[in-house]
Amino acid sequence: MVFKRNKIEIIYDILNAIKEKNNKIKITHILFKANLSHIKLKEYLKDLEEKNLIEIYYEKKQKYFRLSELGEEYRLKLKQMKKFIETFEI
C-alpha cells in the first residue's frame, strides 16, 4: 500500500535528513532521503530557504545545506506531532 505524503510530511523528511547528516548535507543526499524528484526537491528547498528554515553554505566549492535555529525548532515540533500520531494511531 502506497501512502501519499502531504506537504508537511515531506518538509519534515527534508529537515530530518539534514539533521541526520549533522547539518552538513548535499542536495543528492536529501534527494535520496526525502524520496523526491529533483525538480520538486528544488522547489521545497527554495521554499524552506525563503522561510529561513534552512541555510545554504559552501565548503571547498561544494554546496551544503544546514538547519537554521528556526528550522531546528520547527523540526522538533513536527517530530513531536509525528510521535503523537504514532502514539494515537487512528
Binding site: K77, M81, F84, I85, T87, F88
Partner: protein, 225 residues
C-alpha cells in the same frame, strides 16, 4: 426518576479527584490533537480533538452533578419565637439532572466521534442521524445502570472494530487506542456491577483513571525533550 449508584463512604470525593486526572488528560489530548491537525492538516485529528474535548466536559459535568447530590439544602422560615427548617431539593434536582444529561450526552458524543473516525464514516446524513439519536437517547435515559450498559456495549464495539482494523493492516493490534477502548469497557463493566456491591464502583473508577493516567504518561513521553 434518576437511579443512583452510591460509592462506598470512604471513596466519596476520591472519585471526583480521580476524575480530575481524566479531565486534565482529556483536555491535553484534545489540545495536542488539534495542534497536530493544524500542523499536518489531517482532519481526523481535528475530530479526535473534539472527542476528547467532549470527554473533558463530560467528566466536569459528572463531578458537578455528583457534588450537587451531596449538598443538603435547608431553608428556614423565621417566626417570632420559633423557626421552621425544611429541606428543599426542587431546584437542585433540576440542576443535577441537567448536568447528568450533559455528562451522558458529551460522553456518548465523544465515543460516537471516535466510532466515526475508526470506521472512516464521512456521510453527513449518517452522522446527523446518529447525533440526533444520541441526543434523544441521552434525554430518555435517566437510569445510570442503563447508561452504563450502553457505554459498555459501545466501548466493546469500538475495541473490536479497532482491533480488526489494525489486524487487517498488520499494525500493532494493542495500540494505545485499543487499550483505551478496552479500559473503558472494563471500568464501566465494573461500575455496572456496583448494583451487587458498591466496591465495584470504586474499582471501576480507579481503572478508568489508570487508563487516562496511562494516556497522560504517553503524552509526557512525546513532549519530554
Amino acid at each position: 426518576m434518576t437511579f443512583y449508584i452510591y460509592s462506598p463512604k470512604w471513596f466519596s470525593g476520591i472519585d471526583s479527584l480521580l476524575e480530575i486526572i481524566i479531565i486534565l488528560t482529556s483536555f491535553l489530548i484534545s489540545y495536542y490533537s488539534f495542534k497536530t491537525y493544524k500542523y499536518f492538516n489531517f482532519k481526523k485529528y481535528k475530530y479526535f480533538s473534539l472527542a476528547f474535548f467532549f470527554f473533558g466536559i463530560s467528566f466536569i459535568s459528572k463531578i458537578i452533578s455528583n457534588l450537587i447530590i451531596l449538598i443538603p439544602v435547608y431553608k428556614q422560615i423565621n417566626f417570632y419565637f420559633y423557626s421552621i427548617v425544611y429541606e428543599s431539593y426542587k431546584n437542585f434536582y433540576l440542576i443535577e439532572n441537567i448536568f447528568f444529561f450533559v455528562h451522558k450526552l458529551t460522553l456518548l458524543l465523544g465515543l460516537l466521534i471516535l466510532f466515526f473516525i475508526i470506521t472512516k464514516e464521512d456521510k453527513i446524513e449518517t452522522i446527523i442521524l446518529f447525533v440526533v439519536f444520541l441526543i434523544i437517547l441521552s434525554f430518555l435515559i435517566n437510569n445510570y445502570l442503563l447508561f452504563n450498559f450502553i457505554i459498555i456495549v459501545i466501548s466493546l464495539f469500538l475495541y473490536l472494530i479497532d482491533f480488526i482494523n489494525k489486524k487487517s493492516i498488520k499494525k500493532n493490534k494493542n495500540s494505545n487506542l485499543s487499550i483505551f477502548f478496552g479500559g473503558i469497557f472494563i471500568s464501566y463493566f465494573l461500575i455496572f456491577l456496583a448494583v451487587k456491591h458498591n466496591l465495584f464502583y470504586s474499582l471501576g473508577e480507579i481503572i478508568l483513571s489508570i487508563i487516562f493516567f496511562y494516556m497522560f504518561l504517553n503524552l509526557i513521553k512525546i513532549f519530554r525533550k
